[in-house]
């Protein structure tokens, strides 16, 4: 932390509606931040105005506990043309996120305590959005040899996952889960059966018309069942990444009925985008798991409404424009998500109460990862996300901080716009009346101080 950012950490955020599900709070409050920590939530302006504190006008905004994205791909190390730690975390700040959990499918993979430590150190040196490493379950994520889970946990890994692919060997997964069963870190499953790897899109009416090999819902649901059986026998707490198929929700509900501690996340695109976007061989919309049918997206929305799904994730997976070109088999899978996730997720879930939306973006994610944040209770780090609920804006990837510009939401108009990102009392993004003033934390001064 630089001296400047310490000084900026005394602030009064005034005039906003504050929504914090952990405090059952939904009222106008002044958020008083001192030395990077929430000092008080005052009903009215600060009584004894601190001359050193900066007054931040938040009229018309909703302030929430900082939003945490539990599933991003930062491509660092390995693919700087797709994203770097700096550009990815800048995208998070621009998109309204105060923290992200980084998936280990970098090159090389995040499969050692050294690499976990390095990521934490490098992210902290940038001084912006918090970045929590997720360690690989197996070495090099190749699905057979167990990674040093206990050392990675000690180094700061917040969860374990072979995301990007399913852990190939049931035996390795079973033994890894038992090896780490006494650790609080959850296992995050990417569910996609290996035998359907030739599937280039969801298997359904559209793939059949196109004559394209598909990956059916059961390719996801069957692995979810396998992995939650491992959770059951190992007693390990589990998490299903990017659930996309209605059938997987049936599996999740069943596993909970056996007593398995399982959570699940859904992405903005699986809440509303369908395989019809791939008609005409539009390779840009390839993603794993694939965009499925409208009955699947409807099931995802119902699952959020009924509390089956309690976590939102972007699955930010940036690629260069040229890597999203047809033919299907050559196109990289995944979307740039951090800068659209909040607007797009609210867009899909207009009927879900605001407090639930906020919990799914903040407190539920903090609990999932076992990290601080997720609340504005006095004494908590001043990680704050500010939203404007009725600020129509159009998605323009050209202005993304992320190097990834491909999103299925390009050109769409959303009502909810992230307008403020505060991490440890430091304002990283403040969209003043629609015109974003984004402080790029990857500046030379921040780097120089580290």
């Amino acid at each position: 932390m630089t001296a400047t950012s310490q000084a900026a950490a005394n602030q009064d955020f005034v005039g906003a509606r504050v929504v914090d599900p952990t405090l059952r709070l939904d009222a106008v409050r002044t958020v008083v931040v001192r030395r990077g920590v929430v000092a008080a939530l005052l009903d009215g302006p600060p009584s004894a105005a601190d001359p050193q504190a900066e007054r931040v006008d938040c009229a018309g905004m909703v302030l929430c506990p900082g939003f945490i994205d539990p599933h991003v791909h930062l491509r660092d190390p390995g693919d700087p043309h797709k994203e770097t730690l700096a550009s990815g975390l800048a995208a998070a700040a621009a998109g309204g996120f105060t923290a992200v959990a980084a998936m280990p499918n970098t090159r090389p993979a995040l499969d050692s305590s050294e690499s976990v430590e390095r990521l934490r150190h490098d992210a902290a040196a940038l001084g912006g959005v918090r970045c929590y490493p997720i360690g690989a379950i197996t070495l090099d994520r190749e699905g057979t040899r167990i990674a040093p889970l206990r050392s990675m946990a000690a180094a700061g890994a917040v969860a374990f996952s072979d995301d990007g692919a399913t852990t190939k060997s049931l035996k390795a997964l079973y033994n890894a889960a038992r090896y780490a069963s006494d650790l609080p870190q959850r296992f995050f499953s990417h569910c996609e059966d290996d035998s359907f790897q030739d599937g280039l899109m969801h298997e359904g009416e559209i793939s059949d018309r196109l004559g394209v090999p598909g990956s059916p819902s059961i390719a996801e649901a069957a692995i979810a069942a396998r992995d939650l059986l491992v959770a059951q026998v190992s007693g390990k707490a589990w998490h299903l990444c990017h659930v996309s198929a209605a059938q997987t929700l049936d599996v999740l509900r069943a596993a909970r009925s056996w007593g398995v501690d399982a959570t699940a996340e859904v992405t903005a695109h699986h809440l509303q985008c369908t395989d019809e976007m791939l008609a005409g061989f539009n390779a840009r919309y390839r993603v794993n798991p694939p965009l499925r049918s409208s009955s699947d997206t409807a099931a995802m929305r119902r699952a959020v409404a009924d509390g089956t799904i309690t976590v939102f994730a972007s699955d930010h997976a940036p690629h260069a424009e040229s890597e999203k070109e047809p033919p299907f088999s050559q196109a990289c899978v995944g979307f740039s998500g951090l800068e659209v996730a909040i607007g797009a997720t609210f867009n899909a879930l207009g009927d879900v109460p605001l407090a639930v939306m906020v919990a799914n973006f903040s407190s539920n994610v903090a609990a999932l990862l076992g990290v601080s944040g997720g609340t504005l209770a006095p004494g908590s780090p001043a990680d704050i996300t500010g939203l404007r609920l009725n600020r129509a804006w159009s998605v323009n990837p050209a202005v993304f901080a992320s190097k990834g510009k491909v999103t299925p939401f390009e050109g769409m108009t959303f009502a909810v716009k992230p307008a403020l990102t505060v991490v440890g009392g430091r304002v990283l993004m403040h969209d003043q009346d629609g015109d974003a003033r984004t402080e790029r934390f990857a500046t030379s001064s921040a780097r120089g101080a580290s």
């Binding site: 059949d208 018309r209 394209v212 090999p213 390779a283 070109e325 033919p327």
Partner: protein, 309 residues
Amino acid sequence: MIKTRHLLDLDDADRPFIEALIARARQFKQGIPNEGSRLRGRVVLGMFFETSTRTTTSFAVAAQRLGAAWINFRTDGSSLSKGESLEDTMHTVQAIGADAIVVRHPEAGFPQALARHFDGAILNAGDGAHAHPTQGLLDAMTLLEEFGDLTGRRLVICGDIRHSRVARSSARAAWLLGAAVTLCGPPSLLPPSEPGWGFAQLSSDFDAVLSAADALMLLRVQKERALGDDLPPYEDLAKWYGLTQARASMLAPHCIIMHPGPVNRDIEVEGQLMRNERSRIDRQVENGVYVRMAVLERTLGQASRERAA
């Protein structure tokens, strides 16, 4: 209506488009004067990433009868297989002066990808399980020659529907011309719900749908594919969905037999039925040349108009 200069599939085709091409093909079949000067000086490049004998030859003969040069682009040792990007290869091909590319590729959608980087015309000669539009047109031409009008006629297509680009294109062409279409095969190889592809009846009982057919099209069993995990052994498939003498005796007297070829004798069709009076297999091959002449003429004519504009 198909508005682009390309012919990638028949998904956007309508009845007038198909009727016009077939009418022109029938004129070529009857013979028109100076056909050899119609595309003189034009260059048509064949890009076959999958082996093909009859389609390549048919396109080559069609191009040459119209006066165009037919050049086979060797895909085995090509720069594409040496890692050159699709875009760069297409720019090279463009610079060489190709007016049209006839492409076959094992991946569905590959011709669409080529079309993004080529100013000339792309003609799809088969892409994965997606489409084989000239096969669809030549089958429709064969049916029209037989019946004059397809209204009230039923085409039954039998075999591995799911992996067949011929089934997709031929079924659509026949349906657009007014025929009823039944797709017949085991449930795992049929479209997921009825009507299939938006218009076709589905059945898994070959014997039950045989007698209603005015035309019966058998599909080629791809033996190499049957070694995988998505097809039963081809002998099993052939037993239940192949045309035997016994099944042929259940056909209506006027019913014709079609097959896109090459036929696996005694698998899809019992050998002696191939030269039977019902068989239109040779007629299909013959019509293929005329249909491809009509397609090349229309496409290259349109491409030059677009480029002039």
